[in-house]
């Protein structure tokens, strides 16, 4: 069909938010759009946002599910603060998202869903499409559902299935608008509906109809292009934090030449790691869906005792249940990786929303003096490397390590520069094979002078039969001991052995070297803090950024770094947990800046706050 002549505009960046009912397939639509965009070589960052209810009542505000994707021709750090385009599949999606939409933004609405009933469900007395209330935005009314159904008429697909394909119509339209390559989506549809060829055809047809609609309708006069970003050479894929973390655990097993044993109990937002790892048995990975969180970590610890890399994955409520077993692992001095994909708490809280409020629990949430190592990834792709780092510390220093991911990095995605397998850290460690004491005795708590790690003597090794347990152990022999001096020594030794783990110095980003204000963050706030700092510098306001990956032990140079600045600001998605640590440990007047809304910081929020600090002190 002859395309009308459409103007093509170049943009450097775009933020699109797909929003609809939980059953409208918005996550899938956003995911496919992201994949097409990644293929084009734009830098991308995504933010899925969905309710905990699997299917909240249709058409209601609590049932709205959205997926935001930010893409640009330069490197970006966040999924974007405010959408340029909102795709609203029903009145609820429009109402729930309007508040984030700057004036002038495009709104594509599915007019078919703007029925009296649906409007009433969300409290619209009159359709906002008709009462002039949307005049500050550029509204594009599209009868998405009926056009999809019309496009599939005669295809033999039942009307219900045809209606369900409306998300592919929307995707086709947006793909056209932003000149996205769509081959990967067609291939995806073939894979997804492999067992139902009629649905492959229907969804492809819906996609095509959406594309063609863009090309022919007068509703859309402009097409946009966003050129590829200048990124480091190499092969990339788009990846979510949870997927990257799972692959990092696979890689850790390969590089350690050890079987990986995952004990897990399903919990949002960590379950995807279990799902992913359960597909990779060929690497010698066992996944056990345990009867509860406690059994999950218990089985992982049992496997570690037997010489595997034991891992357990969970979220905050699960870590709370695992506390006693983590303490046992600390007493036994065995490797163990505990992944906490944080969500908004306390209690069940908001399981699909993000927060960084488990830091205190990770650092201190156990009985007795029970120190361990804590690290946090800063972005979705960084989850891969953080998982390997967690495994490295666990294996080398024979300690449990808590890896603090969160819902924001876990479900968000970004391009990932694929590493060379041979360049990944070598995690090989050796098991004890020989007695290490006098008279051929084996001393299970005789330490390596370098690492302070005790020997990892696994069952099956002749001559090293020994007993370990949660009771206090005598130094070297590991025998039960109630000796006061021994207990004092062992408590201090357990603290010292974590404190002495060498971790890289924290790096400071202060390009003009004239900043007086330092922003210190950890974990998933890296993106928004970085974007805010970048924006300030572009406006001539100097600011320094430091980001912690290692929370325990802290980098050796941190005190020095903190003292080099007049002011230290600590933004966190909690009520100041890192700030407390910093103030207590370094006697620095670290100023907390906190948000606990369940949503990540926007760059603009941080930019405004930091601008004030830089200008007014």
């Amino acid at each position: 069909m002859a395309a009308l002549a459409k103007r093509v505009e170049q943009l450097d960046r775009v933020v699109i938010r797909f929003a609809g009912d939980s059953g409208d397939g918005m996550q899938l639509t956003g995911d496919r759009f992201t994949s097409e965009t990644a293929q084009l070589g734009n830098d991308i960052s995504t933010l899925p946002n969905f309710p905990a209810e699997i299917r909240a009542p249709a058409g209601t505000l609590p049932g709205v599910s959205s997926f935001q994707v930010h893409f640009a021709d330069y490197d970006i750090l966040t999924p974007g603060d405010a959408p340029n385009v909102l795709v609203a599949m029903n009145p609820a999606a429009l109402k729930a998202n309007l508040v984030d939409l700057p004036a002038g933004a495009d709104i594509i609405v599915n007019t078919d869903e703007f029925s009296k009933r649906n409007l009433a469900k969300v409290g619209y007395a009159v359709s906002p499409l008709e009462d002039g209330s949307l005049s500050e935005w550029s509204v594009h009314p599209v009868a998405l559902t009926s056009m999809t159904v019309a496009a599939l008429a005669g295809s033999g697909v039942p009307k219900k299935d045809a209606e369900r394909a409306k998300n592919m119509f929307a995707l086709g339209l947006l793909s056209w608008m932003y000149s996205r390559p769509f081959e990967s989506t067609l291939r995806f549809l073939e894979r997804k509906f492999a067992k139902r060829p009629e649905l492959v055809a229907a969804n492809k047809a819906a996609f095509q109809a959406g594309w063609n609609f863009g090309e022919t309708t007068e509703t859309f006069s402009v097409r946009y292009e966003v050129k590829p970003a200048k990124m480091a050479a190499g092969t990339y894929r788009n990846i979510t934090g949870n997927a990257a973390l799972a692959l990092g655990l696979v890689a850790a097993g390969v590089r350690a030449k050890l079987p990986v044993f995952l004990g897990a109990y399903p919990i949002t937002p960590a379950s995807d790691i279990l799902h992913e790892l359960s597909k990779h048995k060929r690497f010698g990975i066992t996944t056990m869906q345990a009867e509860d969180e406690i059994a999950a970590i218990g089985a992982a610890l049992g496997a570690s005792y037997g010489g595997a890399l034991g891992v357990t994955t969970t979220s905050g409520p699960g870590v709370a249940l695992k506390g006693e077993t983590i303490s046992l692992a600390i007493a036994l001095e065995l490797p163990l990786v505990i992944v906490d994909v944080q969500r908004a708490g306390p209690s069940t809280g908001m399981p699909t929303k993000t927060e960084q409020a488990d830091l205190n629990m990770a650092l201190y949430g156990r009985h007795g003096e029970a120190p361990l190592a804590v690290i946090a990834p800063k972005s979705p792709s960084d989850c891969f490397h953080a998982a390997i780092e967690a495994a490295r510390i666990a294996l080398t220093y024979r300690t449990p390590v808590i890896l603090l991911s969160d819902n924001y990095v876990a479900n968000g995605s970004e391009p990932w520069l694929l590493p060379e397998v041979s360049e990944l850290p070598d995690l090989q460690v050796s098991f004890a094979a020989e007695p290490n004491g006098e008279d051929g005795r084996f001393l299970p708590y005789l330490r390596d002078p370098q690492t302070m790690a005790r020997p990892w003597a696994i069952p099956g090794t002749p001559g090293l039969e020994h007993r370990i347990g949660g009771l206090e152990k005598a130094d070297k022999t590991g025998d039960i001991s109630y000796d006061p001096a021994n207990h004092e020594f062992m408590v201090r030794t357990r603290a010292a052995r974590i404190e002495q783990i060498p971790v890289p110095d924290v790096e400071v980003e202060d390009p003009d070297e004239n900043a007086r204000v330092l922003v210190l963050g950890w974990g998933s706030t890296y993106g928004p803090i970085g974007a805010a700092c970048r924006a300030l510098r572009q406006r001539g306001l100097p600011i320094a950024q430091a980001h912690l990956r290692h929370l325990a032990p802290l980098p050796a140079n941190l005190g020095e770094v903190l003292k080099a600045y007049d002011k230290v600001i600590v933004p966190e998605m909690n009520l100041g947990q890192l700030a407390h640590v910093i103030r207590a440990k370094y006697l620095v007047d670290a100023v907390p800046f906190n948000q606990v809304s369940g949503l990540p910081f926007t760059a603009a929020t941080l930019e405004n706050m930091l601008e004030d600090v830089v200008k007014n002190g």
Binding site: Q39, Y236, R237, K257, G310, G470
Partner: protein
């Protein structure tokens, strides 16, 4: 490649070889001593090298057990031994893994792990020392204490109905269920032998006397003057009779769901391999808190694939279906899906 199995090499070991250098610290007269001696005494028969044997325990008096065995051992935390042992056993099919637990450890705080280990049929030998009391915390009632039991925490009597551990295990799909008594070394060892030979979870309840906090709890079936009138010895293929001159029989009355004890009549012939767990369950219901008619021996011994076997088979199948070194497979995995290259 088949998964490794527990090595059975002729090793000339004696009971002494299984004694660790640790001083045994149970109260003098505790039933645990007899169980420890029986286990140490029978271990050499298994022909398993010491280094391939692991004892895992939870918390409680019985859970000190691993310290006294010269094998690998872990004294873990309250109730969690079956979970820890599951991870160990599933990932190390070359190990013979034993769980030592008590009535509080296994049935109160660790009840969930116990039933799920049995459901999965993990290759564990679970020895539950049942003394019907909390010993280590000094004398509170346990989940097997009799209703109305007067203890430190129940001065006017417990309101908790007790568990029947064997009924519980059978309800949890256990494939091997047995009961024995600390003081009957010969019987204890014969049950342990059968448990060791069983592939999958073996659940053994051992009546054990706590002479400090619950002395004489099992006297009715231990004392020579009363024992024979109350103790029912289950022998595979033998009629189930007891009492002087075998005057009592265990029978299955017509129209009844359960079994009964009666004088005379045609006794059932014991068969632990009956697939339907209803039979073993009915046997387990013959004894209540009063011990009046208490069967001991192997109640149930059936075969179904162990969790360990199934786990190992999936790993092997996955490996057999893939080619390349782990590093090559990892490279493929990392670059799977939609990728793009920037020059």
């Amino acid at each position: 490649m088949a998964s490794p199995t527990i090595p059975l090499t002729p090793v000339n070991l004696t009971a002494k070889d299984f004694k660790s250098d640790q001083e045994v610290r149970w109260c003098p007269g505790c039933g645990d001593y007899a169980i420890l001696a029986a286990v140490q005494g029978f271990m050499p028969e298994l022909g398993i090298p010491r280094e391939n044997i692991v004892f895992v325990s939870g918390i409680g008096c019985s859970s000190r057990f691993p310290y006294y065995m010269n094998t690998y051992g872990m004294h873990s935390i309250h109730g969690r031994a079956p979970a820890i042992a599951t991870g160990l056993s599933a990932s190390r099919p070359d190990l013979s893994v034993w769980v030592v637990t008590g009535d509080g450890d296994a049935l109160s705080i660790g009840g969930n792990h116990l039933i799920h280990a049995l459901r999965r049929n993990v290759n564990l030998k679970i020895l539950l020392f049942n003394n019907r009391i909390y010993g280590l915390t000094k004398g509170q009632y346990s989940p097997t204490s009799e209703l109305g039991k007067i203890t430190k925490s129940t001065p006017v009597g417990s309101n908790d109905a007790p568990f029947n551990p064997l009924s519980l295990a059978l309800g949890a799909e256990a494939t091997f269920v047995a009961r024995t008594i600390d003081s009957d070394r010969k019987h204890l060892q014969s049950v342990l032998r059968a448990a060791a030979e069983h592939e999958g979870s073996a659940f053994v309840e051992i009546y054990q006397n706590c002479n400090i906090f619950n002395d004489g709890a099992f006297e009715l079936i231990k004392d020579a003057s009363t024992r024979d009138e109350h103790l029912i010895r289950l022998e595979q293929g033998q009629p189930i009779t007891f009492g002087t001159d075998n005057r009592f029989s265990v029978v299955h009355p017509e129209g009844s769901f359960g079994l009964q004890v009666q004088e005379g009549g045609t006794p059932l012939v014991h068969d632990a391999t009956v697939d339907d767990p209803a039979y073993a369950f009915a046997l387990s219901r013959l004894s209540g808190s009063d011990l009046n008619t208490t069967p001991i021996g192997v109640f149930r011994n059936v075969r179904r694939p162990s969790y360990d076997e199934l786990v190992q088979k999936q790993l092997q199948d996955a490996r057999a279906q893939s080619t390349g070194t782990p590093e090559e497979m990892l490279g493929d995995l990392l670059s799977a899906g939609d990728t793009w290259t920037i020059m």
